[in-house]
Amino acid sequence: MAPMGPKKGSARNTQSNTGKTSSRGGISKRRGAGPLRVDRDGDLNMDVSTTSASRSDSKRLKNNSTPSGTVTRTSSRNPRPTAKAQQIIQRVINGDTSQISSRRVGRRADTEPLVALKVEGLKASKAASNQGGGVKELLTFIERKAKSTGQITRPIKIRKSQRSGDFVYITASKEDAQEILKVNGFTFAGASLHIIEAPEGFPNRDSTPLSSTALEIKEQLRSVLSTRYDVNTKLLNLSSLGEDPQLNQMGFFRGESSPEKMFRALMAVCDGLFKTPQAKRDAIVSISLAGNNVNDVLQVMSLTETFPDVVNLDLSRNQFGDLKALQKWRHRLRNLQTLLLNENPIEVANPNYKAEMVTWFPKLLNLSGTQVRTPEQIAAAEAAARPTPIPQSGPDFRDINRIGEGFITEFLALYDTDRHNLAAKYYDEHSTFSIAVNTHSPHAPDVPVPTWGAYIRFSRNHMKINHSSPRQQRLLTGLNQIQHVWRQLPPTQHPNLTTQLDKYLVDCHPIHGLADPAGRNPLGVDGMIITIHGEFDDQEPGTAKTAKRSFSRTFVLGPGAPDRNPIRVVSDLLSVKAFKHLPTQTTINDQQKQQMLSELSRLTGMTPEFSRLCLEGANWHFNQALASFHEKKAQIPPEAFTTV
């Protein structure tokens, strides 16, 4: 930015300055220039004479600590206009607290809750007559004593301080505040200190809205922005700000005022112009910061906070000298496709910078005018990073003499029409049944979540039923118990297994080592395990409300006891959940595919070629293909549609 100082001085780390006496130097220096206040970062406090500055919010307090304290230290030469300008800019910045703080949540210092404390005793101490009123000495004293008293190794940091009447208000992290409270009762320069928590925060001193001057400044910044925005190219051109007549007229580049602050104010005004991040993304795709004499992105950090999704960024004709100067944006700007660094010292200093920077921004296509990736490469990289589910195959139905098929066909039909006799036929005194409700299964967004009232009281979902006694009670053993509960479960209607096989997935295979009901073979007998996934409609007995649900059911089948039905259900585990279509198996024959193709073409107006693409993308799941068509309709090229 125009009159930018060397990197070290201007890019001071906000977090490392607290607690150092040097950062408090500003207090005494500015004292001679009138009743101006500085906070502990050396920044000017917002207001002096009026009574309110709403400082209760700790996030707001932190927002005042801008990375430019060094600039204000020299302000005693010409304090008035600078002070005023800074106040105004800060108000602009602070004007919309919610947005600012939300943009800054990532900073650790901001997210850390600060505790406000109230210190009494300065006024009575000898230090009160010191230059600067003794605040500086008091704070140093407290920090030092808190550290030594608590016998801790880390430095205790007072984040903010403010003198108000007889009290000095300070903020510190929760941990540090604990230590500071131990200094309560210590003698400081002849006076006893009284330190208590101040949950009310700093006294309010300014809750009035922006002053007319501030509004004016804001308006001026807005007008600067409007002249620099091209609605057609969606470009916000912030190049060569130092030469902007309007900004110069506002005095941003004269001596004491900080261009960084001006930039933050600009960004803050930008932020205020958009209601949603999406609106911002839509309006501003490209930003140019060319020719601003920036030598470290720290100076324009707020750009990535205000425009995290910017696609094209021009940083050419600046002073970036090495990768370090860009390091702070390494994990930001995730959507950056174009980055121009032409005419920066880095081109000479580190000719290999491109190779490194390509790895920083995953979507970068164009770096300083060179193509570094193709969109296809990006798509391929993204696809490779995405997990691929294990493919679906048709039924794994390893039946024995069609026993499984016979059982499951009969079971589904009779379960709807005659549960009592169904149970009597296949279940005996050792058979077990239970039901588990899964209330958290994924389902299509258009499917209303069903209520589970009729099922939940029987649910034996071990994730919810943790104690052994209800687990015992809800495990139904023996024909009588099973029949009893089946009577209470809502009547159901399952699709016909033979004619609507596509609504089911059934797997089965032989198993060994079941208990021999005849008691002869100690090694047990063979049987099979069947898992069936499908759907049913039910009707709540009380309310007659109907619902469609999905279910999974696992049967362990074995040979029946002598003189009983040859097949018995050893175990029947039923799981019910919200309705969701089953995936279509990949083994769809060509005739079915042809039908889907023509149906999709008919419904969407797409050519057979594009219909095929669409269906293949959806793995030949017709409804999914149709849904994705509607979702991506806007992006589909016109040649995809048949001309009528």
Partner: protein, 208 residues
């Protein structure tokens, strides 16, 4: 039959074993740790009795645990299984396949003091150590990272930098049915430590 565990014991053993199995198995799965310890193929006694795990994944029979692990690795990183529900039943109160001689009821006769029906084997049976267990698990598989939020060491806002639709993880439901049998090597006096007490002989997975 007098020595069989009570229905209550069977149910409790099945529930506890299922709880332990589900907690550990899916954690290993999510961390893509080796799964061999959970399957019957780890047990020489079961293997010698021709008991081998029957693994069926989305309708496809998978030959071995390592073949299943290969299939899992093929899915790529960031696949997460979440359990929403599980239930368990005792199946055979006294599973017998692969039972080594020293754990047969007859072994009690040779032991001092007990005699048939009173010794350690009888107690172990009575305690439900040999119950075989059916488990049905219902949950969600998430393919992709839990959120598309930007790297957490940046200061960018919670507004996020990527649009929600693309790159968002896919979630599907799944059901997995299991049959577990006693792991003979983990039973008995000189059992090695750290072995799972029940191992898988049947696995049926379906995502939908």
């Amino acid at each position: 039959m007098a020595n069989l565990p009570s229905l209550e014991t069977q149910a409790r053993v099945a529930s506890d074993a299922a709880q332990n199995f589900v907690e550990h198995y899916y954690q290993s799965l999510n961390k893509r740790q080796p799964l061999a310890q959970y399957y019957a193929s780890i047990s020489p006694h079961l293997t010698s009795a021709s008991v081998k795990p029957d693994i069926s994944i989305n309708g496809r029979v998978v030959e071995s645990v390592s073949a299943y692990e290969e299939l899992l690795n093929g899915q790529g990183a960031n696949v997460h299984y979440d359990i929403a529900s599980f239930d368990a039943h005792p199946v055979n109160p006294n599973y017998g396949l692969g039972c080594p001689e020293n754990l047969l009821p007859a072994a009690d006769e040779n032991e001092g003091g007990g005699g048939l029906g009173r010794g350690k084997v009888a107690k172990s049976i009575k305690d439900g150590d040999r119950v075989s267990i059916a488990i049905q698990v219902s949950g969600t598989v998430r393919y992709g990272k839990p959120s598309d939020a930007p790297d957490n060491d940046t200061g960018t806002a919670e507004a996020g930098t990527t649009t929600a639709a693309e790159g968002a993880p896919i979630e599907t439901g799944f059901n997995e049915s299991w049959l577990l049998v006693p792991h003979w090597e983990a039973l008995g006096r000189n059992a090695a430590r750290g072995l799972r007490k029940w191992v898988v002989v049947s696995q049926n997975f379906r995502a939908f």
